[in-house]
Every structure is written in structure tokens, then in C-alpha cells.
């Protein structure tokens, strides 16, 4: 079944971005003065590549504004964790609050940017990232609240699954996390915007990846206009 499926799919170019590459490219979207919520996985890595000249505040939805670096062994405090349950520190000027207040600021649009991972995104901007039928369901955590309310959502994802099937689709096949919410995608192959009327607008190519590679890897409607620059990291 699997081999049958992969026959009709393209071969992946070998120069696609790794997780760090995706994180570095997303870090370039971060503007001075932003309040940002970073999801678990690649999004968490983004914090490592935000230039020190840019001042941002990272929100942890369990109840903290001002996530700092991981603690040294001596600094470890069991009362200080991020949404991924990792031990963290607090930046000077941090604020602590309840999870209700945390989601109040998310819902009311005070958080400027949400960066999260996805299993699928549709050309309408729908996102699926919480449940795979047949697998143990762990829960949506704060993902549904974040995607329903964020002013700006950037998705970090692989363009295709391991067997080459596109994850940028006409419509999601997995259970939805939120409708029409994704604005921008940074994949291992490209940077794309979701157009208000639907469709993925190609903005940049990963180094060494061609427009043709991206066309083959995108099952949803791809809009390509003019010269598509290679991304700088």
C-alpha cells in the first residue's frame, strides 16, 4: 500500500531546510516589540535565532510573559515551566498570572504572533495539528484557543510527509484545529502566504529548491507570480 502510494509522488529534492533552517527563517518574521506565543517543537527553536537587537516578550500559556533561557542546573526551579513542561527561567520584567488570564490575553488579541506546528494546512488557511485517527489522542492543549484568536499565525511544518504526500492541501483530511486562521507558512521548501480568497501564494524558495519542486509538492492551489527569490536565513 505504502509503495503503491509513493510511486505516484515526486522525489524530494535533497536540499530542503532542516528544523533549524525553518526556525531561522521564521525568526526573521519577528519584529521589535512583539508579544509572541511559541508552540512546542520547531517553534520553540525560533527563540534561539531572534537577533539580540530585537526586543520581544515570549508568552507561555500556562501563565507567564517573559520566558527566559533554560536554567543552569543550579537555577532549576520546579515552579517555573513552559507550556511544554520544560524548566525555564524568567526574563527581567516578567509577569506571572493564571491560565484563565493567559487565555484572556490570547483571546482578546493582545498576543501579536503565534508560531505553531501543523500536520496539514488547507488552501483556505484551515489547520490540522492535534489528532490523527487511529492513534492515541493526547488532546489539543491550547492550540484551538490560539489559532481561533491570534492576530497573526505562522505555521512551521514539513511540506510533505515522509512518504512524499503533500501536507499543503485543497482541504484538510485530518480533524481540524481551526478554520481559516493560518496567514503564513514556513516549510522546509518554501515561504507561502494563504490568500484571503484561498490558495497558497509562493513568496520564497528554500536554497536550492526550484519552483517546480514546490509545485510538485503542493497539492492545494499554488499561486506563483513573477520571480520567486531564494530565502535568506
Amino acid at each position: 500500500m505504502k509503495s503503491e502510494l509513493s510511486n505516484e509522488l515526486h522525489e524530494k529534492p535533497d536540499r530542503m531546510l532542516d528544523k533549524i533552517g525553518i526556525a531561522k527563517r521564521i525568526a526573521r518574521e519577528v519584529m521589535d516589540g512583539m508579544y509572541i506565543n511559541l508552540g512546542i517543537g520547531i517553534p520553540t527553536l525560533v527563540a534561539n535565532y531572534i537577533p539580540s537587537s530585537i526586543n520581544v516578550v515570549l508568552q507561555s500559556e500556562n501563565g507567564l510573559l517573559g520566558i527566559g533561557p533554560f536554567p543552569t542546573e543550579a537555577e532549576v526551579d520546579p515552579d517555573l515551566i513552559n507550556a511544554g513542561k520544560q524548566t525555564i527561567t524568567m526574563m527581567p520584567g516578567s509577569a506571572l498570572f493564571s491560565s484563565a488570564e493567559s487565555f484572556a490575553m490570547i483571546r482578546s488579541g493582545k498576543v501579536d504572533l503565534t508560531i505553531l506546528g501543523a500536520m496539514e494546512v488547507s488552501e483556505q488557511g484551515d489547520i490540522a495539528n492535534w489528532k490523527v485517527p487511529g492513534k492515541m489522542v493526547k488532546g489539543m492543549g491550547g492550540a484551538m484557543d490560539l489559532v481561533a484568536s491570534a492576530k497573526h499565525i505562522i505555521v512551521a511544518m514539513q511540506h510533505c510527509s515522509k512518504d512524499g504526500a503533500s501536507k499543503l492541501l485543497p482541504s484538510c483530511t485530518l480533524p481540524i484545529t481551526g478554520l481559516r486562521c493560518v496567514k503564513r507558512i514556513v516549510s522546509d521548501m518554501a515561504v507561502l502566504d494563504v490568500l484571503p480568497d484561498g490558495g497558497f501564494k509562493l513568496l520564497e524558495r528554500a536554497p536550492g529548491v526550484t519552483v517546480d519542486d514546490i509545485k510538485k509538492a503542493t497539492a492545494g492551489k499554488l499561486v506563483v507570480g513573477g520571480e520567486i527569490p531564494e530565502m535568506t536565513l
Binding site: 507561555s60 500559556e61 500556562n62 501563565g63 507567564l64 533561557p69 533554560f70 536554567p71 543552569t72 542546573e73 543550579a74 537555577e75 532549576v76 526551579d77 520546579p78 515552579d79 517555573l80 515551566i81 513552559n82 511544554g84 513542561k85 520544560q86 524548566t87 525555564i88 506571572l96 498570572f97 493564571s98 491560565s99 484563565a100 493567559s102 487565555f103 484572556a104 490570547i106 483571546r107 484551515d126 492515541m136 489522542v137 493526547k138 488532546g139 489539543m140 492543549g141 491550547g142 492550540a143 484551538m144 484557543d145 490560539l146 481561533a148 484568536s149 480533524p175 481540524i176 484545529t177 481551526g178 478554520l179
Partner: protein, 232 residues
């Protein structure tokens, strides 16, 4: 001042019956009522419905009560990191209701604030919306969600006084303040129990009106789920 102090965790949970609906504070293993959970294990109450953001790990937190089959139903936003949980769920021994985290926090807050329902955008267009009323406000669709209340709320604070005023520490605050307010009977355990007058009223997170019983917790383990460090 009213004195709400009880001797220990066992006395605090003495009248929690089988089939009770409980709220348990904490996010992951951070800020969980360790002493009250241990007392529930000793007491052996069964058929519990536990409202808690997470379900602990195999050998700590609510995971301990899953092992002893004391939990009938979990109401949570994320229940990973627990193999026994998965086994009971797949075998049908355990019922689970998954709720978006912000909706869970607000449903509990609403329960403590006397608000029977509210509208939120989280979950619109997803399976969470099944069977729920939706309504448009300003061109956007929202989902009606109802309050959550509990027979007993078990919360953990850093400091508390004999009148039940509580102060939390770090991100151990999480769901504790809302749950303290949403319990018909709220039981608070604290790392440091002090006489009234010792806590600055400016710094109280949970006013004592919400707390019915308070006790000095013992032997906190405060286990860490993901110990992540950088080189010194």
C-alpha cells in the same frame, strides 16, 4: 478571623465520597496538590470525575489514582505522557473529555464567577463544536460553553494563612485560582502555613472566602517532567 485549618490531608479529604466530581489544580506536575492526591489514594474513594488540565504521569500526580482505578472520568486539555492512561482509555475503562485549554480555564473561571455560559471562538468548526450552540458577534462565529463546578476542589499554593488566603509561586499558579473559586468545598494545601496577619493583603492571589479547609503540606516532591538546562 475564621480559622480554616485542618490537621492534615487525610482530615481535609475525609468526606469526599465515591463518584465525587473533583477539580485538581496544576499544569503538568507543576502546582499539583500532592498531599491531597496521596490522601485520596489512602482513602481509596472510587468512581471519581477529575477535572484537571493534565492527568499526571504513570507514577506521579493523578497517574497514581489511575493506577488504582479510582478515576472514572478525566476532563482535561492534554493527557499525553501516561501509558496507563492510554491503556485504560483504549480498553474503555476510562472516559475522557478533551477540552481546549483556554476553554477549560474559562469554564472553571465561569463556574467560580457565577456565569453559567459564555461564548468563545476556540473550537468553532472542529469536533469540539459538535452539539453546541453557535452565535455570530461582529461577523465572527463563537461557541457557547458552559461553566464547570466541582463538589471538591483540591488546590496547591505556596503560602497560605489560617483564614485561607493563598499566594502561589511561579507558574505553579496555573489553574489553581479558578479551581479554588469553583469548588463547593475547596481544600488548599500549602508549603507554608502562617498565622493571619503574616501575608500582605496586597499580595493575596486567592482570597480566603473561596477556601474551606487549609493544611500545611508535607514532603513536597515537586517532580519535574522535562528537566531542560543550559551549561553554566
Amino acid at each position: 478571623m475564621i480559622n480554616k485549618v485542618v490537621a492534615d490531608a487525610d482530615e481535609a479529604v475525609r468526606d469526599i465520597p465515591d463518584q465525587a466530581v473533583l477539580m485538581l489544580g496544576g499544569f503538568g506536575l507543576c502546582g499539583i496538590p500532592e498531599n491531597a492526591i496521596a490522601a485520596l489514594l489512602r482513602k481509596g474513594v472510587k468512581g471519581l470525575t477529575c477535572i484537571s488540565n493534565n492527568a499526571g504521569v504513570d507514577d506521579f500526580g493523578i497517574g497514581l489514582m489511575l493506577k488504582t482505578r479510582q478515576v472514572k472520568k478525566m476532563i482535561s486539555s492534554y493527557v499525553g505522557e501516561n501509558a496507563e492512561f492510554e491503556r485504560q482509555l483504549l480498553s474503555g475503562e476510562l472516559e475522557v473529555e478533551l477540552i481546549p485549554q483556554g476553554t477549560l480555564a474559562e469554564r472553571v473561571r465561569a463556574g467560580g464567577a457565577g456565569i453559567p455560559a459564555f461564548f468563545t471562538p476556540a473550537g468553532v468548526g472542529t469536533e469540539v463544536a459538535a452539539g453546541k450552540e453557535t452565535r455570530d458577534f461582529g461577523g465572527k462565529t463563537y461557541l457557547m460553553e458552559r461553566w464547570l463546578r466541582a463538589d471538591f476542589s483540591l488546590v496547591k499554593a505556596w503560602k497560605g494563612d489560617t483564614a485561607g488566603n493563598l499566594i502561589y509561586r511561579g507558574t505553579a499558579r496555573n489553574f489553581n485560582p479558578m479551581m479554588a473559586a469553583a469548588g463547593q468545598v475547596t481544600i488548599a494545601e500549602v508549603e507554608e502555613l502562617v498565622p493571619v496577619g503574616q501575608l500582605d493583603p496586597n499580595h493575596i492571589h486567592t482570597p480566603g472566602i473561596y477556601v474551606h479547609r487549609i493544611f500545611q503540606g508535607r514532603g513536597y516532591e515537586k517532580r519535574i517532567e522535562q528537566r531542560t538546562t543550559r551549561k553554566a
